[in-house]
Structures are given as structure tokens and as C-alpha cells.
Symmetry: C2
Subunit: 222 residues, 2 copies
Amino acid sequence: MATSTVENYLKHVLLLSESGETLVSMGALALALDVVPGTVTTMVKALADEGLVEHQPRHGVRLTPDGRRVALSVLRKHRLVETFLVNVLKMDWSKVHEEAEQLEHVISDEVLDRLDALLGHPDTDPHGDPIPTRQGKLKSQVYATLATCVAERPLRIVRILEQSEDFLRYAEQNGLLPGAALQVTDRNLMAGLVTLKTDAAGSIALSLAAAGRILVEASKAS
Amino acid sequence: MATSTVENYLKHVLLLSESGETLVSMGALALALDVVPGTVTTMVKALADEGLVEHQPRHGVRLTPDGRRVALSVLRKHRLVETFLVNVLKMDWSKVHEEAEQLEHVISDEVLDRLDALLGHPDTDPHGDPIPTRQGKLKSQVYATLATCVAERPLRIVRILEQSEDFLRYAEQNGLLPGAALQVTDRNLMAGLVTLKTDAAGSIALSLAAAGRILVEASKAS
DNA sequence: AGATTCTTTTTGACTCCTCAAAATACCCGG
DNA sequence: CCGGGTATTTTGAGGAGTCAAAAAGAATCT
Ligand SMILES: [Mn+2]
Ligand SMILES: [Mn+2]
Ligand SMILES: [Mn+2]
Ligand SMILES: [Mn+2]
């Protein structure tokens, strides 16, 4: 019943509130959805009328329980589809986001369940993003990033917070995939540079900004 | 670039002209698309302006080469998706048409190619409908139907010309699937009844209308 | 032919989503 | 406390697709 547009608005409210304030600004939404701010204001008012969001004029917007339900369902579809495209169809992980952006709106619950089963009920997608459960639980753990973690310790990548094709392609070429083992060998805050050593591809330098997009955890006993 | 709506219009013009006149009436299109005839007239004029169809006012509409290209591409997506849903996800063949109706508009060419490969480049979908090739060739062979074929001869079902859920579910329950072997044991034109004997499910009676939807060919040497 | 019926086209209106540009409210430094 | 700058909201308009109802055209029957 919710149109693709509505689903996209709700999904992005969820995404933006996951990674930041509980109140999402019109500007941030406009940027994420690639529309002008006036459009967002208008749509948000409509969504509020339908009880999908709570709008605090001039301050921001927040999902209602109903809106959150929809958003989580769309996000689940998005991430399961991405997983399918990479794991089954062997598509490049840098390209699946775009595809999933469309498919998330036309996958029925039945197809979703079967995909989920086919994939073995994964709990993260190819980028390490957690997949909401059927029941609407979203495990969003807090991890260190390559910009903030302790240096000189064995780490494993758990998630890449980025969906731009270029970044992902670059990351893949340098072995920076979820599951990869590496450690930070140097961090120069003045230069804004982080140097890593991966098991697979040797030594790499990243900007702090880029490093901040890569989530890691301490490597458990090998 | 073509919207889902445009794609649906073009696909149905193709479908309707496959199975009948070369000129498709507004009324037939309205029925197929589940909109009111005035809407079709309006849309058809717009499509004609874009060079996708040729409109002969008061008589009907026909695809241009451009329109046919689009229609075939949508149809290829539709039928490959149906095949995927049945063969890989093991969905009920009576339900896949509805799903494909949406998915056909959001499958990229890249995903399509990979699906095609995964499925082993099938040339018909689960209902026996021919899948247009990548190059846009659509093999549409003329077959006899259970209402018109010779009786008392071994036959094999090649195609079911029907996508209604109820009909397909019923057909499946009686073993009337593409590939099934059977023969016509009696045909009573007065009563409008055809009686069959299938290898799998024994003796069944069908209305002439229903029998006309089931395409068959003479069974080759067993 | 004349009247009746069916199909197609036209007209006017509506929903959904969007933008450009103007108006408004808010925040922050001086 | 005032002036600018920034974010948000409002306003007016337009594209895409649809319907209801009226008008027009064709075909069919008597
Ligand atoms: Mn989307
Ligand atoms: Mn992802
Ligand atoms: Mn469709
Ligand atoms: Mn089919």
C-alpha cells in the first residue's frame, strides 16, 4: 500500500536516525533522497497525517512505531536482496546497492522468505550491514572504526558504512571486505592519514574520513 | 526511461497482437490493463507521440519497431523471472505471474543476464510461454489445443495460455503441466465438454473454453 | 433509411510527487 | 539586542496517470 516514495522516505529516516540524532532534519533527508528541502517538508507532513512519522516543525522528524515497521521491512528487503545478488548471482558488491534500491519495493513477503531461506538466514549483508529480522529487530552494534581503534592490534573488518560504487570498488581491490584481517600500523592525525597492513594486500594508506567508514573489531584468537 | 506504466501498455499491445489481430483495440487494452477506455485512448496518444506505437484513431494500435523492442525486453524479463521463481525459489506456478508483473519493471539487464545463465538459458517459462531472446526474437509457434486436436492420439502439453491463479492451481492438481502426457478420449461439442486421460491423474473433463487454453503437440516416440 | 447499441474520444477533475522561488523562523556572533 | 546567514516552510505550478461522464462515431438491426 505504501508507495515506493513513501517507503524510501521512511527507510531513510530510519537510516539517518540510526547513525546520529533521533530527530532527522529536513535537510539531511533532502540530501539522502535527492530532492529539494521543500519537497521533504511537504511529504513529511503527508506522512505525519498518515501516522507514519512524528513531525516537530522546524526541528525534525522521527518514525512512529507504524513507520518504523514499514522502514524495517523495506530495509530487510534491501539487504536480503543485496545478499542474494552477491552470493547467488555473483554480482559485484559495488553495484548491488543500486539494484536493491528498486527491488526493495517490489519483493513480496513470500519471495522474501524464500530468498532468506535460500541464503541460509544471513544476519548481515555483503557490506556487513545487519539485516532486520522478520520480527523487526535490528541489531545495530557499536564498533570502532579504523580511524578510532587501537593501533598495532590484529583486527577484523565487520562492516563498511558506505554504498558509493567507487569507494566499494576501491575497497575490494585492496582486500578491505568484511571478514578481512588487518591492523593499523600508523595514524597521523596531522596529515589525516591512516596506514594499514592487511593480510591479503599488504600496506595501504587511507584518509581519516575513509577510515572512519570502516568498522572493525578485535580479532578473536586465530 | 520508460515508466512501468508505459512498459505495461507496450507489453500488452504485444501480447494482444500475438494472439489475434495485428491491430489492438482500445477496449481490449483497457480490459487487459484494468483501466477505463478513456485512459487508454489518452495514453495511446502519448505513446504515439513518443514513437512507440502507431495509432489509427477509431481502429486500434500497433507497435512501432521501437515499441516492440521495449515490449520484448519487458516480456523477456517477465518470463525469466517467472522461471526463476518456480525453478529456483520453488514457488507455486500459479502465483508467479503476479510477482513477475512487478519485478519485470525493475530488473536490470545485468541481473537479467545472470538470471538467464543461472537458469541455463531456458527458452520457455513454467507455463510453456516462449522467452524472447536477448536479441528480441520471439518464437511463437502455432499449436493445436485440447479443443481442436485429433482425439485418441498420444499428446504432450506444451503450453498453458492462462495466468489466472485459480485455473493454474486446478491444472496443476490434475497434472496438466507442460510436458505432461495425455490423450483426448472424447469431445462432445453439444455439451461443450472434452474428456481426457492423463498418464498421471487419470480421467478428467474440461469445458471447451478451458481446453482451448491448453496447447498440445503429438507425442514423439516414447 | 432510421433508430438503437457499442466503442472510442473528449473534457474536466483529481492524486501523487516534484521543483523554483519567495516568505518565514531560527541561531549565532558582535 | 540586532543583523546576517542558514534551515525550513509556504506558495504556485507542472508532469504522469487515472476516472466519471458527456460527446462523437460506427456498426447493427428492423
Ligand atoms: Mn528504494
Ligand atoms: Mn548494504
Ligand atoms: Mn507489469
Ligand atoms: Mn508465464
